[in-house]
């Protein structure tokens, strides 16, 4: 068995299994652990508070609309996340791989120019957001090593993916796949879990604020 066959076979299954099992475990823990009921009489609707926060946080706070920093974070955040998800789900090599290994996706892959453009948006967003963790004193203070590892690993995975774009080298394909597998194993134990937990964290914060009659 070649290294590439190992990466595409047993190691892929192992890393994907770790990803699914532990990500599901963390979500189940978050959803079913529960917390003590609040005893104070509610001053507002927790449901509306949650809804408002989940949806409202897609835009910069109204009071920060005139602030360039808020716009920068918003635009870079959208650029990175949308670019990454387009790459992940619509890039031709990924569509082919997902169809072969996981599920028959019902959509066609995007053309090559779409791939390139999405990658450029994703890289530009990721680089600026990651650098902000180093040069913004406040964000630097609240950044943990995990945040840097998560950003660095995501960057390396994306970079090796783009380096393998020519599809001429089994080594580059193997390198990219190996790093994807490492990323999948790291994912459930890191801040990368925000991919799934963001509606819950926003919803919880919003519900608490809504119950108190305030806004999150």
């Amino acid at each position: 068995m070649t290294l590439l066959e190992l990466l595409e076979g047993p190691l892929w299954i192992a890393s994907a299994s770790i990803f699914v099992a532990f990500a599901a475990f963390r979500l189940i823990v978050i959803l079913f652990t529960g917390r003590r009921e609040a005893e104070a009489r509610p001053a507002g609707s927790p449901f509306l508070g949650a809804l408002r926060t989940i949806l409202g946080h897609f835009l910069p706070w109204r009071r920060l609309l005139g602030n360039g920093k808020a716009w920068f974070v918003t635009i870079a955040g959208y650029s990175f996340h949308i670019g990454l998800f387009v790459l992940l789900l619509f890039a031709a090599p990924h569509v082919e791989f997902i169809r072969e290994k996981i599920v028959n996706l019902p959509w066609d892959p995007i053309p090559r120019w779409g791939f390139i453009l999405s990658a450029q948006f994703a890289f530009a967003g990721l680089i600026t957001l990651w650098l902000r963790r180093f040069v913004d004193p406040v964000v630097r203070l609240i950044s943990r090593p995990d945040d840097h590892v998560a950003a660095g690993l995501t960057f390396i995975v994306m970079l090796t993916g783009c380096m393998a774009l020519g599809e001429q080298s089994a080594f580059l394909r193997g390198l990219h796949l190996g790093l994807v597998e490492l990323w999948l194993i790291y994912f459930p134990f890191s801040s990368l879990m925000h991919t799934f937990t963001w509606p819950f964290s926003r919803g919880f914060t919003g519900a608490m604020a809504g119950r108190r009659g305030t806004r999150a």
Partner: protein, 354 residues
């Protein structure tokens, strides 16, 4: 009988005229083939030297083609290269671009090594430039957006530089070390990354230009700074927000970076944006601009890190010590302190008025 004789004569006439027509029309109809047909006609009349296909040699045919003969529609009509079968200027480009003999590779490698050597020598002789003790008072030098833009350009520039140098110097320097297979993988990867990050570099460079333009125009104090040797060899060299060296780096980065971006786009879209000559020229400009920018950046990196104490902190945290500012950018410090003082006075006046 007379009619039959007439028909025979007409048939004979046509049977001679039709081949003659095709023989005459052949050169006009077939381009290169026409040249061959002419030759073979000539060859029948004059067989030429032994063991050749005609009187004219292949070299002459290619020479004619090189000068625009032939009329072959390849590249197709309408394209910038229509009717051009051979591009003679390509030879000159090939000589300049030949990995083993290229003067760009040769002088580029020596130039970069010389700069590195000079920096090491300067560090060993002069050591890091200091500013005495820290005062404990800090002053904002770079805003958050300036720091993010600066490091974004730096990050992508280093990535582009490493991949670009692998492409430029790969064959003469890296291939002998790692072998053909590994080198081809490295080059494929480097080229894909280089092409993908190019437009991102252009975008960030535009951001850099907008964020750092203010303060980078020439001024009289630059002459004094230059006459004092930038303060690198002792004494104090006055400077505003940016000194002459920093201004030179800014404009080099903008001009060389702009040239890299434009020529890079031409090479990314060769069919839509350029003729072959433009592509060749773009490649040469791209390589030269890259070497100039990388060479200058080595000096910038040295002075921004180990070369001048306290400078890196300014680009990470945004703040510098007042004594650092007094030593390296005294005119700028004076302006900032005056602004702060007038702001305080205005605040005090407003408070008194209230």
């Amino acid at each position: 009988m007379a009619t039959n004789k007439g028909h025979s004569a007409v048939r004979l006439l046509w049977s001679l005229l039709i081949p003659a027509f095709f023989l005459m029309a052949m050169p006009a109809l077939t381009g290169v083939g026409g040249l061959r047909a002419q030759e073979s006609g000539a060859a029948q009349a004059d067989p030429g030297p032994p063991n050749t296909l005609g009187k004219r040699s292949d070299a002459e045919i290619w020479h004619d083609l090189r000068l625009g003969a032939g009329g072959i529609a390849n590249p197709p009509t309408g394209s910038p290269e229509a009717g051009s079968v051979i591009n003679s200027e390509g030879w000159e480009w090939a000589k300049l671009r030949n990995p083993e003999k290229s003067p760009i590779v040769h002088y580029g490698a020596w130039g970069l090594l010389a700069i590195l050597g000079l920096l090491v020598l300067f560090y060993l002789i002069r050591g890091p430039v200091g500013h005495g003790e820290d005062s404990g008072r800090r002053i904002l030098r770079f805003r958050l957006s300036q720091r993010i833009v600066h490091w974004s350009v730096a990050f992508v520039f280093i990535l582009m530089g490493l991949t670009g140098l692998s492409i430029l110097f790969g064959r003469p320097f890296i291939l002998p070390l790692i072998g053909k297979e590994a080198h081809s993988i490295l080059l494929t990867a480097a080229m894909q990354a280089h092409n993908l990050f190019g437009p991102i570099f252009a975008l960030f460079l535009l951001g850099l230009f907008v964020h750092f333009l203010r303060g980078n125009f020439p001024s009289l104090v630059d002459i004094k700074w230059l006459l004092k040797g930038g303060g690198f060899f002792g004494g104090h060299a006055p400077a505003g927000r940016y000194n002459l060296g920093e201004k030179a780096w800014f404009w080099t980065a903008v001009i060389a970076g702009g040239a890299l971006s434009v020529t890079g786009f031409i090479m990314l879209f060769p069919d839509d944006l350029a003729t072959r000559n433009t592509i060749h020229l773009s490649e040469l400009i791209h390589a030269i601009a890259a070497l100039v920018m990388i060479g200058f950046s080595l000096g910038h990196i040295y002075l921004g890190t180990i070369g001048t104490r306290g400078t890196l902190k300014g680009m990470v945290d945004g703040y510098v010590d007042e004594n650092w500012a007094r030593a390296h950018h005294d005119r700028w410090l004076e302006e900032e302190l005056e602004k702060a003082e007038s702001g305080d006075q205005a605040r005090e006046t407003a408070e008194e008025g209230a």
